[in-house]
Every structure is written in C-alpha cells, then in structure tokens.
Amino acid sequence: MLVTLGYFGKEFTRKFRKIVSQETEVPPAISYDGGVRDTLHTEEARINPSKYSMEIKIDKVGQTAVLAKSQKSNNPVAKWAAVIEDKFVPAPQRRVEVRVLKDQAGVAPGKVLVRDLGGDNDVALKNDQTVDLAEGNVFYAIAECDAPKSTGHHATPKLAFFVDDRPEESLRGEQTGRMIRELFSFKLDVLLFRDYQSPNDKLIGLDDVVRFVDGPVFYTRRPNQLTITVKINGNDYVFHQASASVQELKKRAGIPLADVLTKIVNSQMVPLDDNAVIELQCGEVFVSHPRDNASS
C-alpha cells in the first residue's frame, strides 16, 4: 500500500507495511519499506505544534506509476553482499530471496539459513522468503532440526561491511569514514569508495557518515597510486608524480647536473632547460649528453 504524506507543505510517498501506535512520549512511528522505522515528528513539530499537520492519501491505483517514478531517482544503486558461513557472498540486490543466497553460498539444500543477530534468538529463514539485507546480512546455515524457533524478540542484527571483498562485522549501522578505515585496519589516508552499480562511485571522507542501509560494499585505492615509468639513458625510472624538474630527473638517473638532458618527442631530440619542470608521460624517453661538446 502506498501512502502519500502531506507534511509541512511537502509530499512524501512511503510504502507501508504496518502502522505502529505508541502511546508514550516518543513520537508515533511508522514501519515501511521492509521494516525501517521513520519517526514523523521533527524538532520543529515539537516546538510549534500548531503548524504540525499531516494529510494521508492512500493510493492503491497509482502504485505502479509511483514506484516507476521512484526508481528513476538519481540515487545510485549500491552493491550488496552477505556473509554466509563466514564467506563473502555477493548479492544481486538489497532484497533477495533466501533460496538465491543459499545457492550462491553453496549451502546444502537440507539446511536452513539463519540470520545471525547480536544476541540470542537468531532468525531462521524460509527458502521462498525475501530478505532485506539492510536488516542484517550475516547468516549461517544449520540443519533444519536445529534451527532456532521464533520467539518474537529479536536482538540487533550483525551487519557486515565489505572493503575489497573482505568482510568485517559490526552492530552499528551508522559509522564514519574514519571508523570504517579503522575497522579494517587501514591507514587513514587510504582512499575509500562506496561501490555502486553505476560507475560514479563515491569517495568517503574521514568524517562522512556511512550508513549501512546505503550499501555495505566498499573498495580502496592507495594514495600515490600514480606510477609513471620513463626511460633515461636506457634505464627505467618510476615516478609517483605527474611532473618533475629536469634537475630531479638528472639526480634520479645519476646524470651530472652540468649535462644536457634531452627529451625524445616524436623521434626528435628536444634539449630541456635545466630549470624546467616537465609533465611526465609513461614510456617517455630521455637521453643526456655532456655539455662540453665543441667544434674544432
């Protein structure tokens, strides 16, 4: 069921599963889109309750159109994965059938997949059930007769973050870029990217908030990964910078600073000014020669 909420002049569309009433001081909460809770009160509503109004329009007929509209949003689609029996298992999307997960993990057909929670009361899952990996993506397989029985009381799920295909588990759904790097024992200057299905992956800064529900799959790139190899007097030299001074090139190649360094450009020898800084290109060739040549 789709519900459109008119709220402070803006409209929000949510797919509701159930409405949870709460008679405490905590604002009313609504469970939608697979169980994620959304409190509709805001601080502004507390401060100025007279402005607080909510209209609810229930739209069953227009559901397809609204869904299609929401899928066209500009938000990139995150990659998802699970840990099953301590193994990294990529998932096709966030919501996935239990059967698919079991097949991908190579779980024996007679075994039951169980969602691993942070305490007791793990949740056994049926084969034809669709699970939302955002509600916990750590599972184990167990014989059907040993599967835990539902108690209705569920602890916080274990959440597996993946960096470079390596999982680390946490009970915190909200981290920072710094916390993720530290969780995986990376240096803080490592470039961390959230992996999306689209090519525009997002660089995660140290203070950026990293929400598990936005996608748990990341990868790293090392800083100073720029590697340019040039040839100087027949030998290869590797530089981790886009440019270098002529003096620097000479020093690296053990060329006397008084000598002339020439760069080969389209088979033409071009002498370089001693004070020049040049852009380095991979595969470039340099040749030096002494300056004390003379006509006789």
């Binding site: 027949g234 080969i264 389209n266 088979s267 020898m269 020669h289 002494p290």
Partner: protein, 112 residues
C-alpha cells in the same frame, strides 16, 4: 659489437635503424632523423660511426648538409660509406657520452 640494450634504445628512437659494416667498421644508419627545430632540412638520413675515425671519438654523418642557427665546419663531404655519399661537421663530443643514443644526442646538439 655494441650492447643490445643500446642498440634497442637507438632502435626505439629511430624505427628504421640498420647496421652497416664496411671495412671492419660498424655504422648505424638512421633514416629520416628529425633535425632540431629551425634546421633545414627538417629530416635527413644520418649515419653514426660510434668508433674513432678521422681523429674524432665518434662521428655523425648526414645525407645532406644541414643548415642550423649557427655556422658549422662541414669538414667531411662526399664520404662514401655503404654506397652513399655522406657529410659531417667537425664536432668533438664529451667522453662521458658512452651510449649510442647519447652520442647521437651529443652530435645533434651542434644544430641547436
């Protein structure tokens, strides 16, 4: 013979590099060498003699005389090597130019 890495380096600079041997002397023929900017002609066949000859530690011959920004003493003209006539200017290069490509570079610096 010359070390293969030096020959390969020169071949990388001048793709049509050929080795000529005449009277026990090795020469490297480099077709269509681009002369430094401002020279005429802008490309010319060149022949490197990397061993001592005519009182020079090495020599670079050209199929045609090249006019550059400064006058040069073309003291070898019509020298017959490999059934072609060659020309060379008087130019002594530093002893530290040991590699073939360094020799070519040193000789061409006279045209800059």
């Amino acid at each position: 013979m010359y070390p293969q890495d030096q020959v390969d380096e020169l071949k990388g600079l001048y793709s049509g590099l050929r080795l000529i041997e005449e009277a026990g002397v090795h020469y490297f023929l480099m077709p269509n060498v681009l002369t430094p900017k401002g020279c005429v002609p802008d490309k010319v066949d060149a022949l490197l003699c990397p061993s001592a000859r005519d009182g020079y530690a090495s020599r670079l011959f050209f199929a045609k005389q090249v006019a550059g920004p400064r006058p040069l003493n073309w003291n070898a003209n019509g020298v017959r090597i490999g059934e072609r006539n060659w020309h060379a200017y008087s130019w002594k290069i530093g002893a530290s130019a040991q590699r073939l490509a360094q020799m070519v570079s040193s000789h061409l610096s006279a045209l800059v």
